[in-house]
């Protein structure tokens, strides 16, 4: 399996408080890696290092390098010369709490394309349809595309956010406890969706639930005390 994401001596701090230090790790193509560990130890922060979203948080500082294979070549995306909007389109992110923008369902999915300059209505419609299909949401919302997205249920909102992320055809998807705010049934739908996704791309999931790890993970990393390591105790359960 080829390396998709490589972290090289990645350290992170907020102001003077170190979150983690000198993390090295490889994540592979078509693999679903789960990151576990006690809360407050920087799991979400680690995801933000991959798509450089940390740059938008005041006082945050990252050191080290992040490499991602793009167009068949390992590239250093943590370098400031690599444009962060491009990076974030190819490395999509889904947050813990569903975060639809305050607009209609259609516009939520169309938004990232509109800001890239896509104006053509039929292209946008096609994009929205494909993305909602991928996220198993189309049938539930096809008659209410122009309703405010915040009227959807929690599980639907989260799938909308996944659809929105997928609509950009990313190569990596980062998910930060995507099911923790949902009930069991809605969570299962999303888990199945993730298993589907890893056939086409690389998936990194932060999770708290051991059961979920068991159902999903190809490999498990534990982030604890500022270090990241492969967790063999959980890997025992895994099926590969």
């Amino acid at each position: 399996m080829s390396v998709k994401i490589r972290l090289e001596k990645v350290s992170f701090r907020y102001g003077t408080r170190f979150v983690f230090q000198d993390i090295d790790a490889d994540f592979h193509d078509h693999e679903l890696a789960v990151i576990v560990g006690p809360s407050g130890q920087g799991k979400s922060t680690l995801l933000m290092c991959v798509n450089r979203l940390w740059e938008e948080i005041p006082e945050a500082r990252m050191e080290g390098k992040v490499w991602i294979t793009l167009d068949g070549r390992l590239r250093c995306v943590s370098d400031p010369s690599f444009p962060s909007p491009t990076l974030r389109r190819r490395v999509a992110m889904v947050f813990q709490m569903p975060n639809p923008l305050p607009m209609t369902i259609f516009n939520n999915v169309a938004f990232p394309h509109r800001i890239m300059g896509v104006r053509d209505r039929s292209t946008l419609e096609e994009t929205v349809y494909t993305a909602l299909m991928k996220a198993y949401l189309w049938d539930e919302v096809k008659d209410r595309l122009y309703e405010d997205a915040r009227h959807l249920s929690g599980g639907q909102q989260q799938r909308l956010c996944i659809a929105r992320a997928l609509s950009l055809d990313p190569e990596v998807v980062l998910l930060d406890e995507p099911t923790s705010s949902l009930d069991e049934k809605a969570a299962r739908v999303i888990e199945n969706l993730l298993l589907d996704l890893k056939r086409q791309l690389t998936v990194l999931v932060v999770s708290h639930s051991t059961d979920q790890v068991r159902r999903l993970a190809d490999c498990v990393f534990r982030l604890q005390d500022g270090r990241l390591f492969l967790d063999s105790s959980l890997s025992d359960y895994l099926s590969f």
């Binding site: 948080i57 005041p58 947050f95 975060n99 923008l101 990232p112 950009l168």
Partner: protein
Amino acid sequence: MKTAARFFLLKIWAAGSALAVLSGAGAVVGFVIWRGAPAVRLSLLFGSTPPWDAVLGRVPVFDGLWPAVVGTVAVVLLAVGFAVPMGLAAGIYLAEFARGRTKKMLSVAFDILAGIPSIVIGLFGFSLSLALHRFVSVRIGPCLVLSGFCLGILVLPYLIRAVQSALEGVPLSLRLTALSLGAHRIQNLWHVLLPSSLNAIATGVILAIGRCAEDTAVILLTGAVALAGMPRSLLENFEALPFYIYYVSSQYTSSEELERGFGAALLLLTLSLGLYLVALSIRRRVGRRAFYGR
């Protein structure tokens, strides 16, 4: 027993204070309504001039408030036209781009600006006009555009702070959403941050309008006069409601003029309270920062 007595005394004091403040403000408002209400009729605005002729500016109004109302509207528009774009730009910069020491220094500077008494800003404008009169053109003196500029300076810090705190109040999750979808910062600002803080910004702008409309000290020194008629040009003197009220209080010559003064006070009070209520309805909770200083 001692505890109960202490509680009783404190309670009396608290209720008494509340009552005192309520009745003080009640007396002010009540007095203005009591004395001003009889003056409220169409001739308060237009005097003996036919209203339509006055509105269209065909016939000058000598014994009504119309020119002062128009003058106030004009000077407020000028002030807001200068201060809102400026405050918006500076507020956005402070919230979205300034960091660390720069941000601290700028915040201090705007706190100081907010604290400058309006008469000092008026004096600044007055002497500026004298300097311009002497060194640029003898046609320049205290005038409408100067008053507008100085009122703009007066409300600039409030606007900056309103915009800044509105933007900083956008929750982090919403702030990061568009960015995580590949928007760059300007797009995020334009498509997400500004629309979602629009209410708070509008509240700030309305409160700033109220502040411009009621301030007297600035226009006192920068071009408001008692008898200018309708404002005709940016470079001329003008009438304004708050100035008229001040003028009447010190130099009224007839009971009609005094009655008109009370009418003007009632009009200005209604305008101020009205603007405040509009701001309140836009945003149920007007933050403490909006009231900071005067």
